[in-house]
Symmetry: C2
Subunit: 362 residues, 2 copies
DNA sequence: CTGTTAGCGCGTTCAT
DNA sequence: ATGAACGCGCTAACAG
């Protein structure tokens, strides 16, 4: 019986079931009692899996056996508190509905999980600006060891102080992994020019994220470099989803003299655009050629198959996760900028002549 | 200076920066010192947001002010350890690539987040059976307060002991939220029968989850009830993704006398099937009518638009989350089975006559 | 080789 | 109205 301070002992939990098959989960001390050793020994044996010196073999066996019997599982919170890490990383995304997201999330998830970390998904689609920051603020205190932020760098100001962060698809922060969005817009436009188009439109995003600004800049630069004058009438902004594509189709058909080709800033829009144009009687690529950025899985299966800049979402996610893990292991990479390659995939939506079906995607 | 036990004091952290702008995050005791009160007072003021009696107004202000100055954030792990909850729930899904998942995830996320919980996403796509269970096992100890499991009930055995769980789309466990998959298969088949079809095929899943078994059972029952003999040749099993749809298209075109209609067990397959059939020269619904289950966003934009049983993924997710929260608040609902309605959405892919485009989805 | 115990940061009871 | 101290469960430093 120990006596501390003023000599009083307060019992928070009156019940002290010594039974080993209690409904309460087993604790370290329960295992220690069951195995007839101290908690330190149990901790030593169970934490260093297999690589545990100092403790005799028979003792180890007794401990492992006892833990098994009691169905013991380390208490994450207690362990985390002691070790000062939660083994959790957060992933902040603006919109889980974009078909670009699932592979990106899986890329992050695969890497962090195989390294013992859990993934906290922070889908900010339905949140206002302040909520995202507040949400992360809460997590700051021990909740997460690091953070990956896709396309929402602006929403987080000083609240990220002293928290390891890796960004995705950003241009004014680091460390970051992204593809060259300007080059993507440029190459797509250039491709359409090579196909003989001069009146090329651009369907942009109504949210002003850096990656979208760069895509548009690439489009504009390609026109300029080819000596083609820009026509502001041929540019529009819609929401980044299927609805946006539907609206873009209406926009295109509203012209007396529509562009002969359009660059779409992202597949999420193109996926709505193509079927909508088809229903409005616009033939692709005969009446209008279409090219887009992302190359999500379904882009190869639109009618006709969609010419795209392929953005490797899974690789981007896993790369970001790997970078974050390096930071968590102590490496400083404050200024690292990782740019992943984005090949141009030419399909029928932009080809003038070759109309034979049945080749792509099957 | 206090003396406990053998009278020795070990200093884990030698440095004791009393500066308020240290790089280390501020702790409760730092705020207490800054405000000139005890930690108990600070805890009292900061935990009960605004609704804090007992403490005088000026003291409260001093505390709040000090916390603000030091950029104090409660340490999740410490708080969780003390309160015996992590304020985190897990969501286990078999495959984030299925277009049914994003709205479901968001449904869960919205509800839990607005109740102060974080969402740990456990995407088991790339994991073998044991890994899923191991993963959850680790989380068990304090890591999560509850769990939502979609379509993977079999993978988890006794490891879920004493952990609040809500299932989605399961048939042999509870509490659960699901739609009536058998009715879905039944109504779709019945619809095709009403459209005049007799030779109706079924494209099933090659993984044997209950929901898929029930969908097939509904299809079979509808045929039986209509007095149509089942033809095993008209049933196949493919992987639940776009590739599966592509393979299903090849399967259909391999018949000399193909079925005049098919029920597809899920949109993920149908999304690959439709364009593939189109490329193989099969006209829909003229040569073959198609109907599917899920009604994901893009189902309204296929060519032609896809007849579906609409499954409200967001509602299912949010319903499961609400049920879990009720359990976490102490309500027992061990046997609750929540079945959400699934309307039949008839579109052009199954209509024999009405071929006018431009009505659906725009 | 094993046991004892401080302390991670917080919430809370009891005493003042 | 406020403060002192315990303990949530675990790891690690140190004693034996």
């Amino acid at each position: 019986v120990k006596t501390v301070g003023s000599g009083k002992t307060i019992h928070y939990r009156k019940k002290k079931t010594h039974s080993s098959s209690s409904s309460k989960p087993a604790r370290l001390r329960d295992v220690a009692r069951e195995a007839g050793v101290s908690v330190a020994t149990v901790s030593l044996v169970l934490s260093r899996a297999e690589g545990c010196e100092r403790i005799s073999k028979p003792t180890q066996d007794r401990v492992v056996d006892a833990a098994e019997r009691l169905d013991y599982h380390t208490h994450c919170l207690a362990r985390g508190l002691r070790l000062q890490h939660s083994m959790q990383v957060g992933l902040v995304i603006p919109n889980i509905f974009h078909p670009y997201m699932p592979p990106l999330i899986r890329g992050v998830g695969d890497v962090v999980r195989s390294n013992g970390y859990n993934l906290i998904l922070l889908d900010m689609s339905t949140s206002d600006a302040g909520e995202a920051e507040e949400c992360v603020s809460t997590l700051r205190g021990g909740g997460i060891d690091g953070l990956i932020i896709q396309g929402m760098a602006d929403e987080f100001g000083p609240s990220l102080k002293n928290l390891p962060v890796v960004y995705i698809d950003e241009y004014r922060v680091a460390p970051v992994v992204r593809f060259d969005a300007e080059k993507a817009g440029y190459e797509l436009t250039q491709h359409l020019i090579h196909e003989g188009h001069r009146n090329i439109g651009f369907i942009g995003s109504d949210v002003q994220r850096d990656t979208f600004v760069m895509r548009q800049r690439g489009y504009e630069k390609a026109l300029t470099d080819a000596g083609i004058e820009r026509n502001a009438d041929f540019m529009c902004e819609v929401s980044v989803n299927v609805e946006g594509g539907i609206r873009a189709a209406q926009w295109i058909t509203s012209f007396e003299q529509p562009p002969s080709a359009v660059v779409v800033c992202t597949d999420a829009i193109a996926l709505g655009l193509l079927p909508s144009l088809h229903r409005l009687g616009v033939r692709i690529p005969l009446d209008i050629a279409v090219a887009s950025i992302d190359d999500v899985e379904l882009a190869a299966l639109t009618m006709p198959p969609l010419t795209c800049i392929h953005v490797p979402a899974y690789e981007i996610g896993s790369c970001a996760a790997k970078m974050l893990l390096r930071i968590l292991r102590g490496t400083q990479l404050n200024h690292e900028v990782n740019i992943v390659p984005t090949p141009l995939i030419i399909r029928e939506s932009s080809r003038q002549v070759n109309q034979d079906s049945g080749k792509e995607g099957i």
